[in-house]
């Protein structure tokens, strides 16, 4: 069974630009979660999608947005990038709705210059 995949692995942008990060969940998983992890810190919850709907959103500004496609893959968009957006962005998927074991992808390292 293939794991959660994310692309790109690394992304370098400049302040004010827009970034798009992609995630493909494990086959059969309908829930996708996005987390931000700044260097050496914990997992900050960003977004949760299930069956194409946004179920929950963390305490992030509106310039962080996303969507889930009919094949359950997901996209995270960050507009008007700021230096403090530099972090590892992790995507996870789960078989069950919300509270089941989460399987994480390798992450996208976003650097904002």
């Amino acid at each position: 069974e293939a794991g959660v995949t994310q692309s790109p692995t690394h992304l370098i942008k400049t302040r004010g630009q827009q970034a798009t990060l992609r995630c493909s969940p494990i086959s059969g998983h309908t829930s996708v979660y996005w987390y931000q992890q700044a260097l050496g810190l914990g997992l900050q919850f960003l977004l949760w999608y299930d069956e194409g709907e946004e179920r929950n959103r963390g305490n992030f500004p509106p310039r962080f947005s996303g969507r889930q496609f009919p094949n359950y893959s997901s996209e995270l968009n960050v507009n008007a990038l700021e230096l403090e957006d530099s972090a590892l962005y992790l995507c996870a998927s789960s078989r069950e709705d919300g509270t089941g074991e989460q399987f994480f992808g390798p992450g996208t390292r976003l650097t904002v210059l």
Partner: protein, 113 residues
């Protein structure tokens, strides 16, 4: 506010010493999960505890769920350098249009050989 508190934030031990991290919830949990993130890696599921007072062991790792199902601990006996990483607990909490896992801040373990 933070619903899952985890302590300590950092722990440095000599190889062979024991290590314990504690997780406390503001509310009763239906279950609690533990994850490990190696340096440079992504979180990986270790175990889920469901029953009040439950104790589970994985080799040198012992996981406990409190009687009131509001706290949990992970104890590692005789740490090895392979135990290095950040350990996260996670519990389901109501958020948005469903319940989802909320992660603690994590305990970063370093092991000196």
């Amino acid at each position: 506010g933070q619903q899952v508190m985890q302590i300590p934030q950092y722990q440095h031990v000599q190889e062979g010493e024991d290590f314990t991290t504690y997780c406390n919830s503001s509310t009763t949990l239906s279950n609690i999960q533990w994850y490990k993130q190696r340096p440079g890696g992504h979180p990986v599921f270790l175990i889920q505890l469901v029953k009040s007072g439950e104790v589970k062991k994985q080799k040198r790792l012992t996981f406990q769920f409190g009687e009131a199902k509001k706290n949990s601990s992970l104890h590692i006996t005789a740490t090895q350098t392979t135990d290095v990483g950040t350990y996260f607990c996670a519990g389901p909490y109501r958020g948005g249009s469903g319940s989802r896992l909320t992660f603690g801040e994590g305990t970063q373990l370093t092991v000196n050989p």
